[in-house]
Symmetry: C2
């Protein structure tokens, strides 16, 4: 008897035989669950939670009784609250029905997500918060100024001409008299945007910290910055805990609409994710979360609304009107974000509809709007954003690529973690494959070649391109059934698949395959990107791009030649194609480090013109033609030599 | 056996015989406790709370066991929580030891405090909040502006040129998409200070409400204003619940210093008082508290700090430095004040040390700084504030008058409520007294002459002045022992006293007297005012005042001739002496109604020069001379005729 098993947040879906333990299943499929005791039920580390309910989109009903009864060991190792919250130990729970499992952060092994930084750019350090060391005169009967004026006057005379309206955070004001006297009138004063005093600290606590966060639909990546030096002193990332309510933004919106407390639920867990990152980042460098005085957030429009606790319903359907477009500042405590009570969160502006602040962040990192040449900037996430133009004008569009290019919703897809296949080469003659996996982290560097557990985004693009170049799949994406190789076979569904790694060479004991469905997912994704790019080029009246920037979490591992071979973007000299990694995170960091970048973001969000591709009459044709590898009609002079070698 | 009994917040202190019920005692001494069932223990309305502990300043130890055991009736009528919180019914509790009783607001009968409005001035209606009716275009694929921009653009084109930086309250933003769509894009938008959208409402909810509150050490008076018409639509007042932690600001500061959670305790109860007033005011006119969009607060410096939850310790001792002097705005919710979530509280600026925003409010109501003539503006509260000058310059000082002139800490003192003696005439020949009491409120007007319960502020000033004019007390405040009248007698302490009302004519069954101690209290209070005024006059180099303004909660009932007879202020033509009532409350109202008055307040607080009288070498001499009626040395040409008729 086989049952459906789904592991969140990894997103693994499949079936398993009745009676197998959840830990066994997780091992086989490459879902990381901590189990240092060797499945003896002694350590209690392999806690998982059963998500109960009928999950329409998955077609399963998950309930606690679909697992074997709770054992004595579990009663000993789990608290009453945990048992009430449907926690189990993965090693003790055997399946006897369909089940949806959530693996909490603390139970996830190999948590070293490959932290992608963007291509780091030189920047001027000009943060919104500045720190001034002041020595005040004690009040006397002659000089009975109030404490606030005393600080303000000292700032005004000693440093810069503050606006007369310089303010002070209310909660700080309530502490001010004691702080000044405890520190004998010698303090460091932190001023935000030359307009509000947000911290008055003992001298000796000179650090000035900020955090930049890129909140993706699937991944949240954060950097802790020392704003006195401009350096990043810690990075952390997490899987967005909202994934258990849906893989993409549309399913999150649907969850909000279908549940009375849906928005509140999704808001709370994303805020908790942010707070988890804040705690980890600050712990790493040995500071308190309250010492972080500013935060910059970038996100797509739906995550923007969910983080801000705004109903996202209306951005989910035509005409996609958001609640607020422009950048704004809000006290962290109003959002429930646990940095300094007086600290601000700066949200970069969003553009329109599905084009969010993350795209604006990509733009301020890459600055196509300052160029003469026509640049195509593609940011690949669960949603793809495309920008095209130069200093004369910029267009942008949003494409529903789905998460395939991130390694999700692919049969053996996984995120870029140890054991993920990141590079693939297929011999055109033997049809044999060679793969590279991401290694374990050993003392900060990665060892090479650990046994494969699955395929990440860059691996998927490589695999499909190599299959095409080897003639195993045709230009229309179908398998060439004439290929004679043990690796090309029919799967259980009768459809063809290619064995990338044989079971004995994997860490999961199964053949890792690329299925027809996987190829289709890649086709749909790349066609959406290509068609979107073409519409923007047509609007600009140009038929070639001078430069291509590929951004995205997987970005700088991508094989750009293979990306062009499958037709992810229109033809371009490969010398002028650059993979820049997480440019959205880089943009967030730049906005944290330099307020001029915030003004630039505001300007760009207004300068760039949004194109709603769904309503363009040519989109369907463009999309259909772009489903082919590399394209049904367009030529690719820069890779023509490669294309010429393809067997069929 | 006699025990000490103290009723708070009325402030009555005295002794009573063992076995008397608290309700009986309260009846005898004129403390109002609700008891509609006629002391049968049926209605449960006479709830009081025992304040337990050792009260050093009172020299008593109060505990629950100093009352008779809890009865069956009480167990029936009081909740478990109330019993745990030491609540009792006054009718069922008989004293068997010293006891400090707090009478909660809901148990107080005759709650109609005489609501003093200031002398109402003509004013221009120009509130900080303005309301605009807008009809927005629905979003379309062509016009996909965000909701916020849609409103901002409509305001900008239809009404006024809003600053580009016009903001929106964050909590309102979270509701904005739903509000706009539920109201089909036709809404009223409320903008605060042309800079922040704080409400977006259904049309038909056109009201625009604000509340002005004068937070005194003893009394809190609030007005609910309709900011579309400029009219006051409801008034309420309360005894400041903090009085049970001390009668004056110094004892409140001491409480904060001696108790770890002292500040938090005092802050919470004053905020709850404000919220009680908000609920009552809005209930009166049938609106919700959340419809109140702005609040203006005035207070002395200590109440300012306590309301804002700032440690008041440092304003309690030299050099009296406050945390913040200038006016500022803070979201009501940050203070825990329950008006609209997005609403602001505006705090008028304080001057220095003990001269608070309430004095600034008096000044913007009376505007001495716009005059040519030299004006003396005296605000009499538990602390007295004195201002002197004209448009060339203003000086101010603060005097520790004590609460005597408000009717507190006087043997039979009480607040200005029904039964309080407010006017006194004593026949110079017969030495007999005639008194006027404040009547019961009947359908909004007051009936005359109810039996006396005690003496309020204006009655005390009258009584002392009349005793002096009748020759019963001498210029130095001592009783003239040669007077032969049954009303002049020695009290139990051996000191002389004057019987103002015989027991049979009172509501309390005791002779109401003016004691030597009472006269001393008035002398100290008036001497502080006079000496302060003289110091300011000397600093200005003038020896006469052109005009005197007497402000204070009792203010417009004061007999200004008698006030001059006892020497509350230097000689002045009585034609130019005006009693204006609660001018601080009037100033708060003006600041609520007109933002220009806020700017004026800010200007005045800087313009006026504070004089610390305690450190002036001449103060002691001035103070000593001013202890005499009307003064040891100064002459009073304008009342010389009256003074000439005094027997001795």
């Amino acid at each position: 008897m086989q049952y459906n098993v789904i592991f969140q947040p990894a997103g693994w879906r499949g079936t398993a035989i009745a009676g197998k333990s959840l830990l066994e299943i997780s091992r086989e499929v490459g879902v990381d669950i901590e189990a240092p005791c060797g499945e003896t039920g002694m350590c209690g580390k392999c806690k998982i939670r059963v998500e109960a309910g009928f999950f329409e989109s998955l077609g399963i009903t998950s309930r606690l009784t679909n697992l074997s009864p709770i054992t004595e060991k579990e009663r000993k190792l789990l608290s009453q609250e945990e048992l009430a919250d449907q926690y189990r130990l993965a090693c003790c729970s055997r399946i006897q029905g369909d089940i949806l499992i959530y693996v909490p952060e603390q139970s996830r092994a190999a948590e070293q997500v490959i932290l992608e930084s963007g291509r780091e750019k030189a920047f001027v350090l000009k943060p919104a918060i500045a720190q001034y060391s002041v020595k005040l005169n004690k009040p006397t009967l002659e000089d009975y100024r109030d404490d606030f004026s005393r600080i303000k006057d000292a700032l005004g005379s000693g440093f810069i001409q503050f606006d007369k309206n310089v303010d002070i955070d209310y909660s700080l004001l309530t502490q001010l008299p004691d702080i000044l006297r405890q520190n004998r009138w010698q303090v460091n004063v932190v001023v935000w945007n030359d307009s509000e005093i947000i911290a008055v600290q003992a001298q000796g606590e000179e650090g000035l910290y900020g955090i930049a966060i890129d909140i993706g639909t699937t991944t949240i990546a954060a950097s802790l910055c020392d704003l006195t030096t401009g350096s990043i002193i810690a990075r952390e990332s997490l899987i967005n805990s909202q994934v258990r309510y849906g893989d993409d933004v549309i399913s999150r919106i649907t969850y909000c609409m279908m549940n009375d407390d849906g928005l509140s639920t999704l808001n709370k867990i994303i805020i908790e994710d942010i707070n988890t990152l804040v705690r980890r980042l600050t712990k790493t460098v040995g500071i308190e979360p309250k010492m972080v005085l500013e935060m910059v957030l970038v996100f797509n429009t739906v995550m923007h609304h969910l983080v801000l606790n705004i109903n996202p319903q209306y951005i989910g359907s035509v005409p996609f009107a958001s609640a607020i477009r422009r950048s704004f500042n809000v006290k962290a405590k109003e959002l429930g974000i646990e940095i300094a009570k007086s600290g601000y969160v700066h949200c970069l502006p969003i553009e329109a509809g599905f084009v969010g602040a993350d795209n604006v962040a990509v733009l301020i990192a890459e600055e196509p709007y300052k160029q003469d040449k026509m640049m195509l900037v593609i940011d690949i996430g669960t949603n793809g954003e495309i920008n095209f133009g130069n200093k004369e004008g910029m267009l942008s569009a949003s494409c529903a690529t789905g998460p395939a290019l991130e390694g999700a919703q692919i049969k053996f897809g996984m995120r870029a973690a140890p054991g993920a296949i990141e590079r693939v080469v297929i011999n055109g003659f033997t049809k044999e494959a060679e793969v590279n996996t991401i290694g374990e982290s050993i003392c900060g560097s990665l060892s090479s070649q650990v046994a494969a557990k699955g395929i990440c985004g860059s691996g998927i693009i490589d695999a499909v391109a190599e299959l095409f170049k080897a003639g195993i799949i045709r230009s229309d994406g179908t398998f060439n059934k004439k290929i004679e190789s043990p690796r090309v076979r029919q799967g259980v569904d009768g459809k063809f698949e290619y064995v990338l790694v044989w079971a004995q060479d994997t860490a999961i004991g199964q053949d890792i395959t690329i299925t027809q469905k996987d190829v289709r997912a890649v086709q749909l994704a790349k066609a959406a990107l290509y068609a979107g790019a073409k519409i923007l080029m047509n609007k600009k009246g140009v038929d070639k791009v001078d430069e291509v920037i590929l951004a995205g979490a997987f970005g700088n591992y991508i094989n750009k030649e293979n990306a062009l071979v499958i037709g992810m973007f229109p033809d371009c000299d490969l010398e002028n194609v650059t993979a820049v990694g997480n440019a959205a995170g880089e943009g967030a960091k730049l906005a944290l480090m330099n307020v001029d970048k915030r003004a630039e973001a505001e300007h760009v969000a207004g300068f760039i013109q949004f194109v709603e591709t769904a309503t363009e009459s040519e989109f369907q044709t463009n999309f259909y033609d772009a489903m082919f590898f590399p394209h049904a009609k367009d030529t690719f002079p820069h890779i023509q030599q490669i294309l010429n070698t393809i067997p069929i």
